[in-house]
């Protein structure tokens, strides 16, 4: 019994630090509607700066003062990021904000290594709280007791702030209705900046408070961010008490879960989230989001299929690509195959996102399932490659059937987070279930059959699959079913009123996108000869999103160009620099701010403007497709 009580206390202490970070994220979302991926980066910055300060400042005052000063400094940094970057993108679709803040995270990661060095740092212990306190015969660290008190204290202070001060009343008003606050004559800009700084302060304080519990390292941002997302989503976006309850729930379930099933930690939080979201689609304390904003901006220019010149161009491009093996060496062919595979992957994501309006933050799930499906069948039954590819597509489709069934019950950010959760669950299974998946050591020896083993032949296979896959996706976009998807994206209300079945339509769309991503994943397995859990990981999902963004979210198939550019760039960067994250992060930020329509979107916009001038017809140019260039 004593043991269970102390385990409970330990869980409470864990909940406190989680709550600090999560409440900050929730407050920021409540007012600005920004899902701040960089929250983990601020958390890490808080820890690093606090480390530097506490190493230099003496005594108890120096230590605690150092933590607070660090949090304030990071809050100022957060305010700067808000003013310089976020102000420009408040009205952009949420995907852009997620990506921009992800870019900030990448930049922070490389900067942290450059400033503080690559090695793990160990924090000082808290003066006065070094030892343990005997609670019913169990030693509980004094610092844990401090955290246990701190959590509810911060919750109480936040309550006072929001209910007893003018600032707080404005924040709450803004959480309910942003435009109303503007109407009250409040300077909305500075309110947002202040709220963002407050949220960042809480994150940085959460990070600084980690010092006595262990160390600081340059991976701690991503370690916490996913968990914090889960807590905020479970609690209900924008709800501080929700974040508190959810942090408690997650921490206690973990503390007791590992007693029953020690392996459970990794998937537990995601299982909790999936269960909560299925029962309560807006989290425990969340309110339904207003239909305020599309996840992906709806283009005002109706899409058109390729015109004659566009088709000629597309065929010419494919023909030119088909000639590559005649001139290029093995390395270029392998890179070319990879570009084609990612073009298909990105096109499948664009299909679900741009056409269906469903932002998937876990599209890697289908890519990875495709790869694993192919690898498992190849190893277990020795099927030839085409059989393996078919199995990959089948496994990815099954995954999409299962995940999609849950996901279409949600909308907006909640949907994005649930897709992320499913991808993480799939990743955890692959990572931990060593007996079947080989775990981290993956599955080896998944090489193409003899007829496709030469790089040139395999390249042709990839070209065929990518061309057919992307063409098929385009056909669906312009089919009656594609019309129904776009209708649901534009106006779920009107769609239901004219008899369109939202869930089934979007579910089917999930499966189509999943199958296409699975095809890409299966080819990827044969290209690399092996499959590892990272094909299912968050970075793979984010890569896909960046490709779509780079190509242009508002286009039909801009992602194809986006994928080729992005993948080529990363391969190049990795080959020539160790600071690839810094460069990539900056690239993403610049893209979001300066070229929100992507490469293809921007180009076709220019062409459309040129083409439209003489005839003065309103933007009839096909989005990014060659018709835009036809005068």
């Amino acid at each position: 019994m004593d043991f269970y009580f102390s385990q409970f206390l330990t869980g409470l202490a864990g909940a406190a630090s989680l709550f600090l970070v999560a409440s900050g994220l929730s407050i920021i979302f409540g007012v600005t509607r920004i899902v701040n991926f960089a929250h983990g980066a601020f958390y890490m910055a808080g820890a690093y700066i606090a480390w530097s300060l506490t190493e230099r400042l003496e005594g108890a005052v120096g230590f605690w003062g150092g933590l607070v000063i660090a949090a304030i400094a990071v809050a100022a940094l957060g305010a700067l990021v808000e003013i310089v970057l976020l102000r420009r993108i408040y009205h952009a679709p949420e995907l852009f904000q997620l990506l921009a803040t992800f870019g900030v995270t990448l930049v922070f990661q490389d900067l942290a290594v450059m400033i503080w060095g690559p090695e793990d740092l160990v924090g000082r212990r808290a003066p006065g709280l070094r030892g343990a306190v005997d609670v019913f015969g169990q030693a509980i660290p004094a610092y844990d007791l401090f955290l246990i008190v701190l959590g509810p204290t911060v919750l109480g202070l936040l309550w006072l702030l929001f209910h007893k001060t003018r600032f707080g009343v404005l924040v709450r008003a803004a959480t309910q209705d942003r435009d109303m606050v503007a109407a009250l004559g409040v300077n909305q800009k500075w309110l947002f900046t202040a709220v963002f700084a407050l949220g960042v302060f809480l994150a940085a304080l959460g990070g600084a408070l980690q010092l006595p519990r262990g160390g600081v390292n340059h991976a701690m941002d991503l370690q916490i961010i996913v968990e914090v997302f889960v807590v905020v989503v479970v609690g209900g976006l924008g709800s501080v008490p929700g974040a508190f309850v959810a942090a408690l729930l997650v921490s206690e379930l973990n503390a007791f879960g590992i007693l029953v099933l020690p392996q459970v930690s990794l998937v537990l939080v995601f299982l909790v989230m999936a269960v909560v979201l299925v029962i309560r689609p807006f989290g425990l304390f969340g309110r339904p989001e207003g239909p305020a904003r599309a996840s992906v901006s709806a283009t005002v220019r109706p899409w058109q299929p390729l015109g004659t010149s566009g088709r000629v161009l597309a065929v010419a491009a494919i023909a030119a690509a088909a000639c590559l093996p005649l001139v290029a060496g093995n390395y270029i062919l392998a890179v070319g195959s990879e570009l084609l595979i990612f073009a298909l992957f990105a096109a499948s994501l664009q299909f679900i996102m741009s056409t269906g309006g469903l932002v998937s933050f876990g599209h890697a799930a289908y890519f990875g399932l495709g790869a694993y499906g192919a690898a498992l069948v190849t190893k277990a039954f020795g099927l030839p490659m085409l059989g393996g590819i078919a199995s990959g597509v089948a496994l990815a489709s099954i995954g999409a059937v299962v995940f999609g069934w849950f996901c279409v019950r949600l909308t907006g950010v909640y949907l994005a987070m649930l897709t992320l959760a499913f991808a993480q669950i799939a990743w955890s299974v692959a990572f931990q279930w060593t007996a079947v998946t080989g775990g981290d050591n993956g599955i080896l020896g998944v090489w193409p059959d003899g007829w496709a083993s030469r790089p040139g032949a395999f390249y042709w296979l990839c070209l065929t699959a990518a061309a057919l896959g992307i063409a098929a996706l385009r056909v669906v976009v312009f089919s009656p079913f594609g019309f129904a998807m776009r209708a649901l994206r534009d106006s779920p209300l009107r769609s239901e009123a004219i008899g369109i079945d939202r869930k089934r339509t979007q579910w089917t769309a999930f499966v189509i996108a999943g199958a296409a991503a699975g095809l890409a994943g299966a080819l990827f397995a044969y290209l690399k000869g092996s499959v590892f859990p990272d094909t299912l990981g968050i970075p793979t999902s984010v890569d896909g999103l960046v490709m779509v963004l780079l190509g242009g979210v508002e286009t039909v198939s801009g992602a194809v160009i986006g994928a080729i550019l992005f993948r080529a760039l990363t391969i190049f960067l990795m080959s020539y620099t160790d600071a690839s994250k810094l460069v990539l992060g900056l690239l993403i930020i610049v893209l979001v701010v300066a070229f929100p329509r992507g490469v293809v979107g921007t180009l076709s916009g220019l062409l459309a403007r040129l083409g439209a001038r003489p005839s003065a017809t309103p933007a009839m140019a096909g989005s990014g497709q060659a018709r835009g260039g036809t005068p």
Partner: protein, 401 residues
């Protein structure tokens, strides 16, 4: 600020090496090296210095086969798939004689499989997994560092001498942690059938929630604990364990904790009396190591980590193999490498013909604190050759060519 300069040096080195192929000359033999430079700088920077030092020494002595030895390094960002891309580039574009490197086991395995498929010589450095040379072994892959099994065997030998009967384990929940626990349990139980395994904890790698884990282990009241966590997880585990008194009166056996990479961050909180494998860089008094240490410190103004040893030995091994083969033909190199003996700062090591694992060993000792820093007390070098299973067992595990 020392670290910052190190990185800049490292980057310059990387860029310089990457730029070299453009000027590729007839008089060069190239080795393509792939590692997680952007993902794990704390490990790969000392390693890269080891590579650099060895390459300079080899070239100062006239290179290999009368040609200059060039090491081209590529980043894999910690992803096996990207490592394969890099290998492709090195093999097809840079036409390297062999590929080498990797830190993570999965990257190593991906490269080994690539090597087998493309019939390229692969000299693995750091990856620990036993699969590299046994269950997934192939004739193109040679591995330098003492494997998971070898480290487990060294630790189990000492652990068997402890009076402890009830054992609990803490290991990160992925292939490395799982197989480390499995091998250690097997070897220790074989030596000590009286031992009872009372429980295990499997925190997620890099995300340990140390409080509950420590508490859960303490509740089992074991006599001894096997730890496989490392890095940030280890720091948190040690701190929680110290505060909660988990380690008091208990023996702890811990993988890799004596390596400077893992021990140095712990500083004065390094737990005392843990039985560990590692590398006591300032306490190895052999002539080979003294020479290495002197050269390393003179060149980099920094002390070597275990990664430096691996990087240094890797280049030495590669040079010896090519020299003996008399050419960069893959088959000739494989023939030459089997049974070859080469220099390392720990003395001579050999690539076994039977499984192509090197006999490079490790130091076993106890942890202690000296001048506010973690050190290994009474370290003893264990030759890897003594901690490998019998040839019959190896033959059973390893697919035949």
């Amino acid at each position: 600020m020392d670290t910052r300069r190190t990185i800049l040096t490292g980057m310059a080195l990387g860029a310089g090496m990457a730029a070299l192929p453009a000027l590729a000359q007839q008089g060069e033999i190239k080795i393509g090296e792939i590692n997680s430079y952007s993902g794990l700088p704390a490990f790969t920077e000392p390693y890269r210095k080891g590579l650099q030092l060895a390459a300079e020494e080899v070239n100062a002595k006239g290179g290999v086969l009368g040609k200059k030895l060039v090491v081209i390094t590529k980043d894999d960002a910690g992803k096996p798939a990207d490592a394969v891309t890099a290998a492709n580039e090195l093999v097809s574009r840079d036409e390297v004689a062999m590929i080498a490197g990797a830190f993570f086991s999965n990257v190593g395995l991906a490269l080994a499989d690539y090597a087998k498929q493309k019939k390229i010589f692969y000299l693995a450095g750091e990856p620990l997994t036993d699969a590299m040379v046994w269950s997934s072994g192939n004739r193109y892959t040679f591995r330098l560092r003492p494997s998971n099994y070898m480290q487990a065997a060294m630790l189990a030998e000492e652990a068997a001498k402890l009076p402890a009967k009830k054992w609990a384990t803490i290991a990160p929940n992925y292939e490395y942690g799982q197989s480390a626990v499995k091998v250690f349990k097997e070897l220790l139980s074989k030596k000590r059938p009286d031992i009872e395994w009372v429980g295990e904890q499997w925190p997620p790698q890099g995300k340990i929630d140390a409080g509950p884990v420590v508490q859960a282990i303490a509740a089992l009241k074991p006599d001894a604990i096997l730890n496989v966590t490392f890095g940030p997880d280890l720091i948190k585990l040690v701190r929680e364990g110290n505060t909660r008194g988990l380690f008091k009166g208990r023996s702890v056996v811990s993988f890799l904790t004596g390596e400077p990479e893992y021990m140095d961050p712990l500083k004065d909180e390094t737990p005392e009396g843990w039985l560990v494998t590692g590398y006591p860089w300032n306490n190895v008094k052999t002539p080979e190591h003294e020479a290495f240490l002197k050269a390393y410190q003179a060149k980099f103004n920094d002390y070597p980590r275990l990664g430096s040893i691996v990087g240094y030995s890797l280049v030495n091994a590669a040079a010896a193999i090519i020299q003996k083969a008399g050419s960069t033909d893959t088959e000739k190199m494989i023939e030459a490498a089997r049974g070859i003996s080469f220099d390392t700062p720990f003395g001579k090591a050999t690539f076994r013909a039977i499984d192509q694992q090197s006999t490079l060993g490790a130091f076993v000792g106890k942890t202690g604190v000296k001048d506010g820093k973690g050190v290994m007390v009474d370290p003893v070098y264990r030759d890897g050759a003594d901690y490998l299973p019998s040839d019959d067992e190896v033959k059973k595990m390893r697919p035949q060519d």
